[in-house]
């Protein structure tokens, strides 16, 4: 979230699209409700009429996977009706930048952008025109045909309400009602917010869905203001934190890039990753890249080794190597892995095309399953129907503490780092993850010290200062407080900066003081300032709202620098510093300095410094050349869809996605069935309030299992009539990759849609279930038996093995299925 949960309350219009916050982020609805009480309309756009829709002022259905068409139509609506926040767009975005005249867009280029070679773009034409000094040419009047604004207008000219309605299945009146309500927030002083979740990300165009909304927010001047922003509702309490801390393969903590093989030295690496700009007034914050990298390396290795050595120790990907989820499991399926730590996750249920995942696990020599309860991953070898004697994988179960049984921090969707305390001891032999990792580290280190091995020093020379040490320099109890301090970072030697002496061993007060000479450490530069000499900021519990817009700046701590609303430099008039919204100002200029939230990027009013300082050019990108699949979002059909053509262009699906289903590369588990009469219905997976993720924590909780005991599939009344289904009867949901048994919930909340002149039915299925907690399996001595059984297996047995070209996130929100009576 660029903003935070409480801030939703400040919104003048709340759009819930690609999300169902009432069910899945119930607490957020506290703030949605408050906004509504103040008169903000709530808009729910969803294929299914959800609990959120039940509260919405406007509900608009759309076919899964057509969000870009829907949003593209909104962009066109904004531009046609001149609803943009003009001053904002001109000052704070790249709307005025002139683009390379050779750049071609899908409308004029067979549905793709210029530069497509096989399934990758050569982005050389996705560039700006510059003057002799390399400064980007701009047209402040936004009239040059090659300026971003004009290109945008040209690109979305094709997204007429008629075409959009024909693609999305959204009735035109609903479409226009949504456009009209939401775009009212383009008025200066008004803010609209978007609450999105996996309904947008889990598509082959997932990133572009969010890009489309970002463009809308920029056009309407909704970024950086209270009640605005682009707000990802995370699917787990700490997904924001784990992403910040490098959960993903392509990043290191603080969104630094993972080194690749071609960057052999730290210098090369820094040079490659430090952006440059010729814009005279741009701050280009990432110019500090090398400081953050040096501090990270110091956090890993301390003063044990030089920065260069430390860099050498880091594992390096091959250039262009994709190590995202789908690729990993595809490799595992093909026998390229010998071992796996499944740590706090349940890929046998959460992985797209779970049959493939489950089969991939059988290829392993060993697997360590670290979890609170037994799950489908740890017990994959005894899934009903499998013969354990034929499976070679040796499985180790390590019971770990639940979140109530250990101390540490979580970072919520609003980027708030909040400290949590241990409430109770872990049962049995369960241990906190940190202790398990510490033990693992010492064993590995011993082994490397004894046996050596390639890059043994990378392990043996790591610092491990996460607790009180004994005489041998070894810790016996992992203490997350030490980690929190390391994450913030220390001065490793006495240092004078700006005339102030910072003593060796003291905590670095802010990332502005991090150094590239190895004199500072920081495990994550974004979190520098979270633990200062005043103490652990995440433990703060001040509940006074001095801002009057719900910032609660003394509650916990928020990255970066406790800034609650990022890009807030754009919330004021660039010339005068007066907030666009005088009622809910995020920051304001008192003549000498900025008051309110921690200001983001702005200099004094009128200084002309563009506030999007994380962008090299200082402005927000309407034209975004950084992504794999195009600088403007373009509608492509999902890999599996009910219609045979893309109504907007000859290019059917996203041309840049990585394919496993094509002849010669894939097997039956990768199969795809588009426009296939065997699988005529669009399907989405989703969640319910009562269960979490694959249900490993919630299926074992009797009260929760009691409320949602069985896998169900929601089917529209019309479709049920056609198929002769009765409400509550057991049916089989089948895709080309697998099938699950589910209870049919026949509902008026799904309606058939008119798409490309055809009637399209959509169904939906939650993915929380798994065979381990059913009564259809065998329980042997020592197995925990659920107090309340659930029924049904993972809905991911149905989902396709395909992902977004930028992130690799699987397309589990739009695929094709059939629903049949059981036994047919």
């Amino acid at each position: 979230m660029t903003n935070h949960w409480n801030d939703i309350e400040n919104s003048d219009c709340v759009l819930a699209m690609g999300s169902n916050p009432a069910s899945n982020h119930p607490i957020s609805f506290k703030y949605v409700t408050k906004a509504m009480e103040k008169g903000a309309p709530l808009i729910s756009v969803d294929p299914r009429f959800t609990q959120t829709s039940a509260r919405a002022n406007i509900y608009a259905p759309l076919r899964s996977g057509t969000d870009i068409a829907f949003l593209g139509g909104m962009i066109k609506y904004i531009l046609d009706n001149n609803l943009i926040h003009e001053k904002y767009v001109k000052a704070y975005t790249n709307a005025s930048f002139l683009v390379n005249p050779d750049f071609k867009m899908p409308g004029e280029n067979n549905g793709v952008f210029s530069g497509l070679v096989e399934n990758k773009y050569d982005k050389s034409t996705w560039s700006y025109q510059t003057d002799a000094d390399g400064v980007i040419l701009k047209d402040p009047t936004l009239s040059d045909p090659n300026c971003v604004y004009r290109l945008l207008k040209k690109h979305y000219k094709r997204y007429t309400p008629e075409v959009v309605s024909n693609i999305t299945g959204t009735p035109k009146d609903k479409l226009l009602a949504v456009y009209e309500a939401y775009t009212k927030t383009g008025k200066p002083g008004k803010a609209g917010t978007i609450m999105y979740a996996m309904g947008w990300t889990q598509h082959t165009v997932g990133v572009q869905n969010i890009r489309a909304m970002s463009i809308i927010q920029l056009l309407l001047g909704n970024m950086g203001v209270a009640g605005g922003g682009v707000n990802a509702l995370r699917g787990e309490s700490n997904v924001q934190g784990s992403t910040d801390m490098a959960l993903l393969f392509h990043i290191l903590p603080g969104y630094l890039k993972t080194p690749v093989a071609s960057l052999q030295t730290l210098e090369e690496y820094n040079k490659k990753n430090t952006p440059a700009t010729n814009e005279p007034k741009s701050l280009n914050w990432w110019k500090n890249y090398s400081k953050y990298m040096a501090s990270l390396l110091r956090a890993h290795y301390g003063m044990n080794v030089t920065l260069e050595e430390a860099y050498n120790y880091l594992p390096k990907r091959d250039d262009g190597q994709d190590c995202s989820w789908l690729t990993l499991f595809d490799s595992m399926y093909k026998g390229k892995f010998s071992g796996l730590f499944a740590w706090g996750m349940n890929p046998a249920c959460s992985g797209a095309s779970s049959h493939k995942v489950r089969q991939a696990l059988t290829q392993l020599d060993w697997m360590v399953n670290v979890n609170v309860y037994d799950n489908e991953t740890g017990s994959f070898w005894r899934e009903p129907g499998l013969d354990p004697s034929k499976i070679k994988t040796e499985v180790f179960m390590l019971p770990c503490s639940s979140f109530m049984e250990k101390e540490g921090s979580i970072t919520n969707s609003g980027r708030w780092m909040q400290w949590r305390y241990k409430a109770v001891d872990s049962p049995g032999v369960a241990m906190p993850d940190g202790d398990i990792m510490t033990e693992l580290f010492y064993r590995l280190k011993e082994r490397y010290e004894k046996d050596g091995g390639p890059l043994a020093d990378a392990v043996t020379r790591l610092t491990w200062d996460y607790g009180v040490k004994d005489g041998a320099g070894r810790i016996h109890h992992f203490d997350p407080d030490y980690v929190a301090r390391e994450v913030n970072g220390y001065f490793l030697e006495d240092k004078v900066i700006g005339g102030v002496l910072y003593k060796k061993g003291t905590l670095v007060p802010s990332f502005g003081l991090l150094q590239d000479d190895g004199s500072t450490s920081s495990g994550n530069w974004l979190y520098c300032n979270s633990y200062t000499e005043k103490g652990n900021m995440a433990k703060r519990r001040g509940n006074e709202d001095k801002s009057h817009i719900g910032l609660y700046s003394d509650w916990a701590w928020c990255w970066p620098l406790n800034r609650r609303i990022i890009y807030n430099g754009a919330s004021v008039d660039p010339d005068t510093g007066v907030p666009w919204d005088k009622k809910n100002p995020v920051i304001r200029w008192d003549g000498a300095r900025w008051k309110g939230d921690v200001p983001d990027g702005v200099a004094a009013p009128g200084a002309g410094r563009p506030p999007f300082i994380m962008k090299p050019d200082g402005v927000a990108n309407i034209f975004g050349p950084g992504l794999a699949d195009g600088p403007f979002p373009e509608h492509y059909e999902p890999l599996e869809c009910p219609i045979e053509e893309n109504l907007l262009s000859p290019q059917f699906i996203n041309p840049t996605i990585v394919r496993w289903d094509e002849v010669g590369t894939g097997t039956s588990v990768d199969a795809r069935a588009t426009c296939d009469p065997r699988f005529p219905f669009v399907c989405s997976t989703y969640r319910v309030s009562e269960h979490w993720q694959t249900g490993v924590l919630t299926r074992w909780a009797p009260w929760l299992a009691e409320m949602q005991p069985e896998l169900f599939v929601e089917i529209g009344s019309e479709l049920a009539r056609l198929k002769g289904f009765k409400n509550g009867e057991h049916v089989m949901v089948k895709s080309v990759r697998g099938e699950v048994e589910a209870v049919a919930i026949v509902t008026d909340r799904y309606k058939p849609m008119k798409v490309a002149g055809m009637t399209v039915h959509q169904v939906g299925i939650p993915w929380h279930y798994g065979w381990v907690t059913t009564n259809m399996r065998k329980y042997v001595h020592g197995d925990k038996v659920p107090e309340v059984f659930t029924s049904g297996d993972s809905a991911n047995l149905l989902t396709p093995f395909i992902g977004d070209p930028n992130t690799g996130i699987p397309e589990s929100k739009a695929f094709m299925v059939n629903v049949e009576r059981k036994g047919v």
């Binding site: 609805f29 409700t33 009429f49 039940a54 309030s689 299992a705 409320m707 209870v743 919930i745």
Partner: protein
């Protein structure tokens, strides 16, 4: 002590069921094995181990629009509580907050409250031979806390406070909502201590009586026959006494001495 009201505003309820869970947790009510019957609503109805539940109900109107109604079903805590009226043991009692609480130790499992309740709330537990129902978290409100369900509600659909304030708030909200919105609870059974703000007319909701009242059977039983019994029995006793005094015993001795009343 001021009377308290729990206000439930259906227009703010999202059906997340945090309240349902909180109720089970605070009251330590065990879960039971359930099945999906084609609805999110589960358990299917109030039970001795489920004192409140959210009812899910779909409603389609003519032009193809659908509504999804959520209703929190639990004890309404009537002022004229039929259950208290019929309870033989005093197990069901009115608290100083106006709520209807249950002294489990006193309950004799007679089930009379079950057929008396106009809202079909009390449930019988054959294992303990006692009835069970929401007691408005007497153990909490008596210590100055709000009921567990209110505490758990994320959206503010549930609130708890002084009677007058809650009634005023309910009516203000209804005014704000307009349309078919209405306050449900203050107009009958002497006023309930769970008050609804309904977005639809009461007859739209499943299992919700449109004009709930203390059943005629209970009135006949408790307001008529019960005092009459006392009156009749007392009258007969008094009458007999007076009869004995004024008429004296009937003379059945006659002149026949055989078998005279020895020892009289």
């Amino acid at each position: 002590m001021a009377e308290k009201i729990k206000l439930y505003d259906t227009s703010k309820c999202t059906g997340c069921r945090a309240c349902q869970l909180a109720c089970k947790q605070w009251n330590a009510l065990p879960a039971g094995q359930t099945y999906n019957a084609g609805t999110y609503q589960n358990p299917p109805d109030l039970q001795s181990n489920t004192w409140m539940l959210i009812r899910f109900q779909e409603m389609s109107n003519g032009n193809g629009d659908v509504k999804w109604l959520f209703r929190k079903d639990a004890c309404m805590h009537c002022t004229d509580a039929a259950c208290i009226k019929v309870c033989p043991s005093g197990a069901l009692f009115r608290t100083k907050y106006g709520s209807v609480a249950l002294d489990r130790d006193k309950c004799i499992g007679c089930k009379e409250c079950i057929s008396a309740c106009p809202f079909d709330v009390p449930r019988y537990d054959p294992v303990t031979d006692k009835i069970a129902k929401c007691d408005l978290c007497f153990s909490r409100i008596d210590r100055g806390m709000e009921p567990a369900c209110v505490k758990a509600c994320p959206t503010g659909a549930l609130s708890f406070g002084d009677k007058d304030e809650m009634i005023a708030r309910a009516h203000a909200r209804v005014k704000e909502l307009g349309g078919d919105a209405n306050v449900y609870g203050d107009q009958f059974v002497g006023g309930t201590h769970m008050l609804y703000v309904l977005t639809e007319k009461p007859d739209v909701y499943d299992e919700l009586p449109e004009r709930p009242r203390v059943p005629l059977t209970v009135i006949a039983w408790k307001d008529w026959f019960k005092p009459l019994t006392l009156l009749a029995a007392g009258g007969v006793l008094a009458g007999s006494f007076i009869h004995y005094l004024t008429h004296g015993p009937k003379d059945t001795s006659g002149d026949d001495q055989a078998g005279g009343e020895g020892g009289e």
